[in-house]
Amino acid sequence: MGELVIGIDLGTTNSVCATVQGGTPTVISNRSGYRLTPSVVALARNGKRLVGSLARRQAVTNAERTVVAVKRLMGRRWSAKMTQEAIQRMPYSVVAGPHDDVRITLGEQQYSPPEISAMVLTELRLDAEAFFNAPVSKAVITCPAYFNDSQRNATKDAGRIAGLEVIRIINEPTSAALAYGFGKAQAERQVAVFDLGGGTFDFSVLHMFKGVFEVEATGGDSLLGGEDFDNRIIDFLAEPFAQKHGIDLRKDKMALQRLRDAAEKAKCELSSLKQVEINLPFISATQQSGPLHLQATLSRDQLEEMTAGLVQRCMKVCEQVLGEAKVHAGQLGDVLLVGGQTRMPKIQEEVKRLFGRDPAKNVNPDEAVALGAAIQGAMLLHDEQEMLLLDVTPHSLGIAIAGGFFQKIISKNTTVPTSAHHVFTTVKDDQTSAKITVLQGENEAAIDNELLGEFMLTGLRAAKRGAVDIDVIFDISADGIVSVSAIDMQTGTRQSITVTASSGLTEDEIRKATQSNEDWMLAQKEDPEFQDHKTRAEELFREFEALWPRLTRAAQNGLGQEPLQRAQAALSVARLQLAQRESEALAGSLDRLERMLEALKGALARSTGGR
């Protein structure tokens, strides 16, 4: 076996880690035994960093210091309209960063979205290291196909901060197709991937032949996902309440978090039930009427009605991409559904209607993306099965030209890696610098496209205007990441290019964040006292478990339920303290548990002895 490499699906709501072991793609369960790790990061009241289900579980009581859905902010500009809309719904505080980027306030500190994502990645990395019992430093991370250059760079930065060498960023739908096609790659077929995740929607059409996966066209909406479905339910619950009591629950961070949990739960239940009850007691209170409760029923029909617009947006994207791939829905060999939101019956129904077939059944919507990333990692590092992925760029790349127009240089759906060039001519005598504005998008007006950056061509040769021709070369790597270089065509000298406007982190900031993340990991590892407590705790847990059947029997035979309940409560407290690494408090709990164990053993001995 070669170098260890993991595949990570860094999702809006959940993340998954996988690897290829002995030729089989496998999901790596986290240290709590779950396959999915919530993409949630929190700062607990005691100042500890919590990640995953622990962070998620305490979100209601600590909403302002719990970061959810940070993926929606990755690589976004503070000034963008989309950003402002997205942060309206965030319970935590989002502020402007130093380079028109966003920062998240968590306690005393401010973090960039890549730093928060890095905390999730670090957790997954530690899970993988526990799985392999060896250090892991290489990863393939997925991102929505529709992510632009800044968002991809932010994802890559997050990996670096987490101490991972990101050998490739791959698109989520492509990744899912790799997982689907793994092992049956010889057959020639065309498949579509419908990927509706927590925060983004992607749709891709691929062609497979002898181990080559060629993406034919891809499209999507980077602000459409399961969370939007939740938000519709939240509005449905909050609006009548506001009318009746004059209180907007969405403005109260704690109530909003409870609404969010209830909405998500209701949505999931409505995938199998026709109607659900939503009960949120003590959601708010007023001076006059005291505590207020929220009670509502929601039917599947109602949910479908309020989210019909969202479903239609997905279907429109599908039709457009099919057109670009020049393929008719009925001609596809298979349709894969990926992302938790595709469990909604209405979506399955609409997909079936559009494609005239049932979606493929052998794809796990939560795990396929991570498995595909693991396969890509193995393909690159271990020559896995002579497979190859030919992906495309999801957006056209171009520059701003005179009159505020956008000139395309590389058009969308071009296979990557690719490059193209454009010749600039000086327009003034002795002009020594020129500014190039690089954009990504499909709009004719430059301003309507996403700004990737502004580049300065500096140190140009002084000459009459028009006498200096600069060949500017745009490269898109296999990661979908853009780089720009320039050459003076007359002299053949390379021109220096400086990025003057980019929303990303600077090299310095990344280095600092990587260092502080490493320090944090070291602090976690190097606490011998905690290690002792941990061993002791695990032994105690095992003893209790072994004793439990006898204890339940004894409880029915006169010992009573009370001591068992007390022990159970103490055990769950200790488990939480163990997970949160609260060394001192854990030691106290363990002492208490030991005393309890002794007492219970004594009681058992007496009851058997007395018989």
Binding site: K210, G323, L381, A402
Partner: protein, 295 residues
């Protein structure tokens, strides 16, 4: 692999798209695609990930991109036809024959398909709906094989048989739009190539073909104007330049062209208006300022 790259380098630009992909000029869409995918397996940089490629690394990447570009042209019917037309002289003897054979067989197939459609069109009563569906499905099949022209013919017949089926007319409109766009792109590409070689009359013809297929193409209008000016046809140049200005009023190059044309035609007032508009957008245009002062 290294030998193969060196051989490719040695032949350089003289290599045709067919030779590069290793297919005959009569290969159909499926064959072209399979050849491309097979070749990618060896040329794509990922196939050599973390392996010592030394000075061959950049070559590998360059030839992979050449390969994708060739595939892109040959996988589109219109662009391939344009390529065959423009590069016939460079094709090998066998390929030239193959292209002719393909063109003949396409013509023959088209004739047969036409006859069949005409037969189907004579269908009476309810059977017409079924016949329309059959044609529609055939059209979709043709699209998959990259035969857009065939698909369009089939859809036209289908529409006549069953005018109420929305999907037939929708697909037809979509394909026709695509065809016009592909034709415009192909014409534009060959126009640019000809302009670079200073074959201006041919370039004008190609630019005007591009403009006919895409009346919103600023590049076509301004290109035709440039070439017409080179040939000394001031009247045609003026017409093209005004079209270009209409399409993109903010572009300096088109207005500059038009102002100079007006000046040489003695139409000073119109030249002044154009120059003023130009300077309004680009106040630093020295030549425009100078020209305006002389008027």
């Amino acid at each position: 692999m290294q030998n193969e790259l060196q051989q490719l380098e040695a032949r350089g630009d003289r290599l045709t798209h067919y030779e590069l992909l290793g297919v005959g000029a009569d290969a159909d869409g499926g064959t072209v695609r399979r050849a491309y995918l097979e070749k990618s397996k060896r040329f794509h940089p990922d196939a050599w990930y973390r392996k010592e490629t030394g000075k061959f690394g950049p070559l590998l990447s360059k030839w992979f991109q050449r390969l994708s570009a060739a595939y892109q042209v040959l996988s589109d019917e219109e662009m391939r036809a344009g390529y065959d037309r423009d590069h016939r002289a460079e094709l090998s003897q066998t390929d030239r024959v193959a292209v002719e054979r393909r063109e003949l067989s396409v013509a023959e197939e088209e004739r047969r398909a036409r006859e069949r459609r005409e037969r189907l069109l004579r269908t009476k009563g309810f059977a017409r709906i079924g016949a329309a569906r059959k044609l529609y499905e055939e059209a979709l099949e043709s699209v998959l094989n990259g035969e857009r022209t065939q698909a369009i013919f089939a859809l036209k017949a289908a529409r006549e048989l069953d005018p109420k089926r929305h999907e037939i007319s929708a697909k037809l409109v979509e394909l026709e739009r695509e065809q016009a766009k592909a034709r415009a792109n192909s014409a534009l590409a060959s126009a640019k190539e000809r302009e670079e070689k200073r074959r201006f009359p041919e370039a004008i013809a190609a630019y005007s073909a591009a403009f006919q297929n895409d009346p919103a193409s600023f590049a076509a209008a301004v290109g035709a104007a440039r070439c017409a000016m080179e040939t000394g046809d001031a009247r045609a140049a003026t017409i093209w330049a005004s079209r270009a200005v209409e399409l993109n009023p903010d572009d300096g190059s088109a207005r500059w062209l038009l102002s100079r044309l007006f000046v040489s035609a003695g139409m000073k007032a119109r030249a002044r208006t154009e120059l003023a508009a130009l300077l309004n957008k680009n106040p630093d245009h020295k030549e425009a300022k100078a020209l305006l002062r002389t008027l």
